[in-house]
Subunit: 202 residues, 2 copies
């Protein structure tokens, strides 16, 4: 790789961090053929924190934008979001999420992550998954660093079609199509059942 200009390196750095928020200074230095010190300096200039801090900060900013899902219900961290368009989230499955007889993470935890990011992208008071067509492409292990991207593909009345792609580095480990149904009061006749809301309960 030819030596990059500082301007070009800054552009690429922002792009790579957006693509993979888990990328470390060491990985960036190797990719760009420069020293780790250079990357740290670049980050200081661009006001980008190191990986852990970065994710925490991005998550904090995004939480305020959530409409359908409560921050308490989010699986992983939502690090970037444009409502009714896309959402990006990170997740590191823990050891307790694996099967007892293997190190593989149970599908349910990857599903939970996908469901959470799919719900975060839509703008409704409440919603439920109606249909999901999902594919697990390769096993996931504890401490894998997963990045999910949810995209709202279509919206019609109270139905939303959302695609979710989950990657580990550049490898896709899961993809799914979700049809979500908004269960706002005005739409409750469409859920097939009376929708008891939190307000009714109290």
């Amino acid at each position: 790789m030819a030596k990059l200009s500082r301007k070009e390196r800054h552009r690429l750095l922002l792009q790579r961090i957006k693509e993979n928020p888990f990328i470390t200074d060491e990985e960036l230095a190797e990719e760009f053929g420069c020293s780790v010190q250079t990357i740290r300096l670049d980050r200081a200039i661009l006001d980008i924190k190191e990986v852990r801090e970065r994710i925490k900060e991005m998550a904090k900013e995004s939480l305020g934008k959530l409409k359908t899902i409560s921050p308490r219900d989010v699986v992983g961290e939502i690090i970037d979001i444009e409502l009714e368009n896309y959402a990006i989230a990170t997740f590191e499955p823990q050891l307790w999420m694996t099967f007892s007889n293997s190190q593989m993470v149970k599908g349910q935890h990857i599903y939970a992550f996908a469901e959470s990011v799919a719900m975060s992208v839509i703008d409704a008071k409440a919603a439920l998954i109606g249909v999901a067509n999902i594919k697990y492409k390769t096993p996931v292990f504890a401490n894998d660093r997963l990045v999910a991207r949810a995209e709202l593909k279509k919206k019609r009345n109270n139905k939303y079609i959302v695609w979710v792609f989950i990657k580990r580095n550049s490898e896709e480990v899961f993809r799914g199509k979700f049809i979500l149904v908004a269960t706002d009061d005005e739409n409750k006749e469409n859920t097939g059942q009376e929708c008891r809301t939190y307000e009714d309960r109290n």
Copy 2:
């Protein structure tokens, strides 16, 4: 309903409990047009325990038959199982499984129940979900009594097609088709990735 003979009532009682393991003596009495005392006597004669004990006992018997999933990983209770044929499980979602802004149970917990019963029906050392096409038909609330039935529809090499139906009383709340992939050592080249087993870890 015409008064049933004792023999007929016993036959129906066994059938109804098989269909809905959560059925109470009160419900059976009402269905059969007899007293609760009569149902209790019937259960004593047929050696059927009351609802909680019954489920606990059925679960205990079934756990020993599991091959693919460890008892520790089971969601709910497996109460009847014939490996490579069918499995029946019960599950009562708890309040913590609901969304913070509604009383509805998150899809991920119903999915986890379905995944668990789908895996329990197959006979492999380990397996993962490859594909799932699922449909949530109506919202589920905390303390709903769910009964799932998983049926192995097809088996070819290391792939299994399992259908799962979840009902609340006689109402279907969820149905899904799962394609499971056995990840036994001899099949590990088919998972798309080296399968680290529990034995490798220790």
